[in-house]
Symmetry: C2
Subunit: 367 residues, 2 copies
């Protein structure tokens, strides 16, 4: 056997997420509605699709390892310098690099109990010691996160705003206060993957002179390009540049770079997606209420629905929906796991949901 490091030897073989394709292979049939992974069913901008299709014949060239054009456009978009932007293989890839830069054996790292499991996967993968604080009223709790960070002298804390899997968010003032309260030597990883869906002006202002925050953004959600694997971070120049020490320089697909650039420029499509998501979320909420369930408020492209019973029941609801060809997921831990989570869908997706949810609930109740 290879001589694995003791750390790697000790890691479990669990994976953060089972993909819908894996479930489809196990079921032996395809899902009819794919509303479980907070993907954007409304698709990438037609201009991004065109750009990717056009770039396909150029796929023989390595992508620009500096992602220069895309970073330049992103810098303009956010009013920062190109040196403040780092592009990577999705936020997942960037989280991996960030954890690697700050975490070694037994380093304490703070997150919320039930927050993004891929972050936890990376922390475990580099030997970190995960310190979790509970959600409060279905929101991540900035005060508890800060307290834990200070108590543990943790160099890294993860905070998603808007939050996944609950869809909740905090005001710009609240988050800014959190940023300002991060102690020296600590870094706040502010995951804003769902940021474009948040109400206008509700995210804190970007300030790259601040050394203790890094903001993660992505083309996977509002830009509809989850499969392209383009995420980016906005940070102080020193931190953004430090990624060059560890990142896979040629890791971002050339076709995806072209697509992301086109997507970023298509402001109208983004507005179309946001409006479609809002409408879809309202329909999902209505369907939930019609079935006696409680949709939680959402600042994202999904609706988390309180099934008003325990985790076992919500799990049965998910399973019954899956049986009925609807791919959905749910929060992993108590008390959030009383809920199921449904991503914005097309009209056809929602019609199927409206038809199947009552049947799924009935089956879950009698199981």
């Amino acid at each position: 056997m290879p001589n694995y490091t003791p750390l790697v030897e000790s890691l479990p073989s669990t994976v953060p997420f089972v993909g819908p394709e894996t479930q489809e292979r196990a079921r032996g049939s395809a899902f009819q509605a794919r509303v479980g992974a907070n993907e954007c069913v409304f698709g990438p901008s037609p201009k991004a699709i065109e750009a990717m299709a056009g770039a396909a014949s150029e796929a023989w060239k390595y992508g620009d390892p500096e992602n220069h054009e895309l970073r330049s456009e992103l810098a303009d978009h956010h009013g920062v310098f190109i040196e403040n932007i780092v592009v990577g293989e999705g936020i997942d890839g960037l989280l991996g690099y960030l954890v690697r830069m700050l975490v070694q054996q037994d380093t304490p790292v703070v997150t919320s109990l039930g927050a993004y499991p891929t972050f936890n996967f990376h922390v475990a993968g580099f030997g970190g010691r995960l310190v979790t604080v509970p959600y409060k009223d279905d929101c991540e709790d900035p005060d508890a996160l800060l307290d834990a960070m200070k108590r543990e002298n943790a160099p890294l804390v993860y905070f998603a705003n808007p939050d996944n899997p609950m869809g909740s968010m905090h005001s710009a003032e609240r988050v800014q206060a959190m940023i300002d309260d991060v102690p020296d030597g600590c870094l706040l990883c502010l995951d804003e993957a769902y940021g474009e869906f948040a109400p206008e002006g509700s995210l804190p202002k970007i300030d790259v002179s601040h050394q203790r925050v890094i903001r993660m953004r992505t083309f996977s959600k509002a830009y509809g390009m989850a499969g392209a694997r383009v995420g980016y971070a906005i940070a102080h120049t020193d931190l953004a540049t430090a990624f060059n020490k560890v990142r896979n320089h040629f890791g971002v697909n050339r076709v995806a770079q072209a697509g992301a650039l086109a997507a970023l420029k298509d402001v109208d499509w983004l507005e179309h997606v946001k409006s479609s998501v809002r409408k879809s979320n309202e329909v999902i909420a209505d369907i939930a209420r019609e079935n006696g369930l409680t949709p939680l408020p959402t600042a994202t492209n999904f609706v988390t629905i309180d099934c008003e019973r325990d985790g076992a029941y919500a799990k049965r609801c998910v399973e019954e929906l899956v049986k009925r060809d609807i791919f959905v997921r749910m929060p992993f831990v108590e008390p959030q796991n009383r809920c199921i989570r449904i991503s914005s869908g097309t009209d056809a997706d929602l019609e199927l949901l409206a038809k199947q949810l009552p049947l799924a609930l009935k089956a879950a109740q009698t199981a």
Copy 2:
């Protein structure tokens, strides 16, 4: 400042390769011939281009994190099981994961002096201690690599066959003997990125029951999809599965997965590329000889050309070609750095090379 780990704090900010786009931005003009990164100018299979263009509109879906279809096809292709295949973000990405699994602070790792710098980047990035052995007659030296591996009790040795940057290769028998001689607890990383260009039957047989070798392959070279970032490794089930502990599960672009699958099935296009590469290499060799230089034998999609003087001279040759709009590179270290390296090109690329090489050499001689 963030509280970086001591290891990351100590790392230099150097990058393994400067991309041609970076040079183009510095020059203020585009290269006319892009023959410096061993990309495949003959392009991806038209069927792969079509598959990627078609998949672009599906980019809103995350790629299958198990890369199931592609791995299944690769398993058939190589006569192994799907569990023996791991797909990642290029060989670069897979090398990063592999190093991470085996290397920690001060772990000795063996490679050849002047071999693939991205491997070295990863070893340094995880704190490994690089042990290098010299090339012998412009070939990597299996005996010296094995000796160093045994002497240092190194858990990992890197060996590229065919080799980059020299284009040389060893016989199947020689490499098989090397594989068989790897001591217990050590792993041979056999980088076969250029394997498809090697003469028929010249690579050792794949045997996934062997625990002490992992073979790296890619769609970046003969399949013409460098920008797509799809590499794969063939290994014993235990090792291939262990990547799941650390890899970015959703890291491979969905469009690229579709493209790679189509590329793999298009056997005719692969033959077309191989034949085009052979012809191009012959022309490059002729051009070199016409200019009094010595092309080395090649089993790859590039020709390494001995300029018969020192590294400073070869460097000037590269610079003068670059000035003349031809992107080329050269080996990094003595004595290989007496050479320049020219990737297979289109007819137009080679015409430009034929026209400009004499001028470049003249300028390099008088500089």
